[in-house]
């Protein structure tokens, strides 16, 4: 089977799920005739018609709220945020309404909110964000953020079939840069399971999304130059977190570096560090360290963006510090 890109993998999942279940529908800005700002939904309107692929006004609150209402009635809406940065507009609807629906009102709310996320693309402050931490913090929401094309497809299918709201972060830097062959058949990746992206002995990197690839680059370099063997855990699901996989890698290598593209304060790395501290403190040979973005809005100029975001060289440097501790 031919390889397809991360973006095509997401589109393939949408196609397959809409064919499988008539209740699956797409809702968003410019997703129909235009096919979406990044063309993720290209071809869906022609195939499934305008009752199931709905071009909405510029109204993030309304499309998330309407998706919730439709989900209560038995639909499985997939909402596109044109850029994930705009999910902030729907923060109230997601956290106050959607996340609490099952708990407070026993209302099913099976829906997906998906969109292009992340930096390294010179997108500036409003087309580059990684706002996952605010939603991971909200009980009632699930959050996934794949790093590979096959996980993108398999997690999208799992997200659409999940009986609760799943926020599906797509890394726009990866959209057309990476490819993979899709597994045969009905390829569903379970939500809540991490993936070992590289086996190693000396040190663990826990990461997700685009920085998985930077960690892999760093691991190659460290193996060649320092003879270090790095294990890389790709979280894939951020809520729920695969706690067992996190503890297992800590207990195997005893040294842990957490890497994410999101900013530092209040970012997911702090939560992972706390969990390691609670369950695997006795296995640690060194403090848990973090490589993250700096705590600033993401600037536009290449020199500025490159400085703010974590780079492969940062990971190499941090890993050497840990290995020498």
């Amino acid at each position: 089977m031919a390889e397809i890109t991360y973006l095509e993998a997401i589109r393939e999942a949408l196609f397959e799920e809409m064919e499988r279940d008539v209740n699956v529908m797409c809702l968003g800005e410019d997703i129909g005739a235009y096919g979406g700002a990044f063309k993720v939904t290209e071809g869906l309107l022609d195939k499934f018609g305008e009752n199931r692929v709905i071009d909405s006004p510029i109204s993030e609150i309304a499309i998330v709220g309407a998706a919730a209402g439709a989900a209560h009635m038995g639909m499985r809406p997939v909402v596109e945020m044109q850029f994930i940065d705009f999910m902030a507009n729907a923060y109230d609807m997601l956290t106050n309404y959607v996340a609490t629906a099952r708990y407070r009102a026993f209302l099913p709310c099976p829906m997906v909110v998906r969109g292009p996320s992340g930096g390294y693309v010179r997108g500036g402050p409003f087309h580059s964000q990684n706002p996952e931490a605010g939603f991971i913090h909200t009980p009632g929401l699930k959050v996934v953020y794949p790093s590979t094309a096959d996980d993108a497809k398999g997690l999208m299918k799992a997200a659409i079939r999940d009986d609760d709201c799943v926020l599906f972060f797509e890394h726009k830097y990866l959209y057309r840069r990476i490819k993979a062959e899709m597994p045969n058949g009905d390829h569903v990746v379970p939500i809540g399971k991490a993936r070992i992206a590289r086996e190693g002995r000396d040190l663990s990197i826990i990461t997700y999304a685009a920085t998985v690839w930077k960690a892999l680059e760093a691991a190659d370099q460290l193996e060649k130059e320092d003879g270090l063997s790095l294990q890389i855990l790709d979280l894939r699901s951020l809520a729920p977190l695969d706690d067992d996989a996190i503890q297992a890698t800590v207990r195997k290598t005893n040294r842990v570096l957490i890497v994410h593209e999101d900013t530092r304060t209040g970012g997911l790395a702090g939560e992972i560090t706390a969990r390691i501290n609670e369950r695997s403190f006795a296995w640690l040979d060194a403090p848990v360290l973090r490589v993250t973005a700096h705590d600033v809005p993401l600037p536009y100029a290449p020199a500025l963006e490159d400085y703010v975001l974590p780079q492969t060289a940062d990971i190499v440097r941090a890993a050497r510090t840990l290995a020498a501790y």
Binding site: G65, A66, G69, A70, M73, N96, Y103, A105, D162
Partner: protein, 343 residues
């Protein structure tokens, strides 16, 4: 209307006995707008009430027992003690519970009615907002979305003069809220919210339009909030005499009773019989509700998600066992090997 008022009066008594756990929200003087509008719907239709639409929920089949248990946070209340006051729903009976952020339900009901449209179901939705909620982004986005999609939805603005303490003059520069319909390209109608028959007629016209496939309508119902935002509110911001005047001259129940006896040949005995039946129903409901106990504390951890079905009790809570308590350690922890290295 009588059931709404008597039930709320009973809740006031229970509130003063501290049996109502949280705040108490009255719809005194606005019963006609909730009840009259809900009667314009069919059984299969769905409405989403706001805090002063207890009457609409009762029309849709919510029971006094449920309301009382909910206010008293009982374990077998409709939300098992998770939500306050009249924040609950039942899609089978045709009402979806509101949340506190205002205007959000307009968006949700846009989605509910979008589904009716997509599935070619002969069903209509009705959503209530106070005049204050028209200032929110959610109201605007929801009604615009529904209008563009021609969803079978009726939006009722209950203009009761105050949003908490904020009067209409500080809520909008528009002359009247119904004018907002023009901006959305939908029909708008204003009606006397304290005349239950006028409320019914206006709502019925909008419901019929929605059912015909003619999309969204906006109705502004003119009414007056005679009690505070909630029971704690002393209404110090209300001009002297205003509340008394509405009570004396424009009470929706008094007006309806006058029409029933004047135009429709009801006798005083007929009206008394209704009042007596309602009183008995509320008495019985109170007895039943008071027999229920509080929820089991561990129920708090159930049902955030379909999967996993329960959250874990945290380790520091008595009766729980957690990672730290268990003292997981690597093998050989705390001992020294021959080379003097610890692990």
């Amino acid at each position: 209307m009588r059931l709404t008022r008597t039930l709320e009066e009973r809740l006031v008594a229970l509130y003063r006995q501290t049996k109502v756990v949280g705040g108490l929200f009255r719809s005194l003087g606005q019963e006609a707008d909730a009840v009259g509008s809900a009667y314009a719907l069919e059984r299969r239709d769905i409405l989403s009430p706001l805090i002063r639409n207890l009457g609409a929920m009762l029309v849709k089949g919510a029971t006094p027992v449920e309301i009382l248990k909910q206010y008293m946070a009982r374990g077998d209340s409709p939300t098992r003690g998770r939500e306050l006051n009249i924040h609950f729903g039942d899609t089978e009976r045709g009402f979806i519970g509101q949340i506190s952020p205002l205007g959000d339900m307009v968006c949700v009901m846009a989605g509910v009615t979008l589904t009716f449209k997509i599935r070619h179901e002969d069903r209509v939705g009705l959503v209530y907002v106070g005049e204050g909620a028209t200032s929110t982004g959610a109201f605007h986005e929801g009604i615009n979305f529904a209008a563009v999609q021609r969803c079978p939805l009726v939006v009722i603005i209950e203009n009761n003069g105050y949003a908490y303490s904020t009067p209409v003059s500080k809520q909008t520069a528009a002359k009247q809220f119904v004018d907002k319909a023009i901006g959305y390209g939908i029909p708008g109608e204003q009606a006397d919210g304290n005349d239950i028959l006028a409320v019914y007629d206006a709502t019925k016209r909008a419901v019929d339009r929605a059912r015909r496939g003619d999309g969204v309508s906006l109705i502004e119902l003119m009414t007056y909030r005679r009690k505070g935002h909630a029971e704690h509110d002393n209404q110090s911001y209300v001009p002297a005499g205003e509340i008394d005047r509405w009570e004396r001259e424009n009470d929706p129940i008094t007006r309806y009773v006058a029409r029933l006896t004047g135009e429709f040949e009801f006798t005083a005995a007929d009206i008394d019989a209704v009042d007596e039946r309602v009183r008995r129903e509320v008495d019985d409901a109170t007895d039943i509700a008071e027999r229920s106990g509080p929820p089991d504390a561990l129920d708090a951890l159930l049902g955030v998600y379909a999967d996993p079905p329960a959250a874990e009790p945290l380790w520091f809570r008595e009766g729980s066992m957690g990672a730290v308590e268990v003292h997981e350690r690597p093998e050989g922890w705390g001992t020294f090997n021959s080379s003097g290295e610890s692990h």
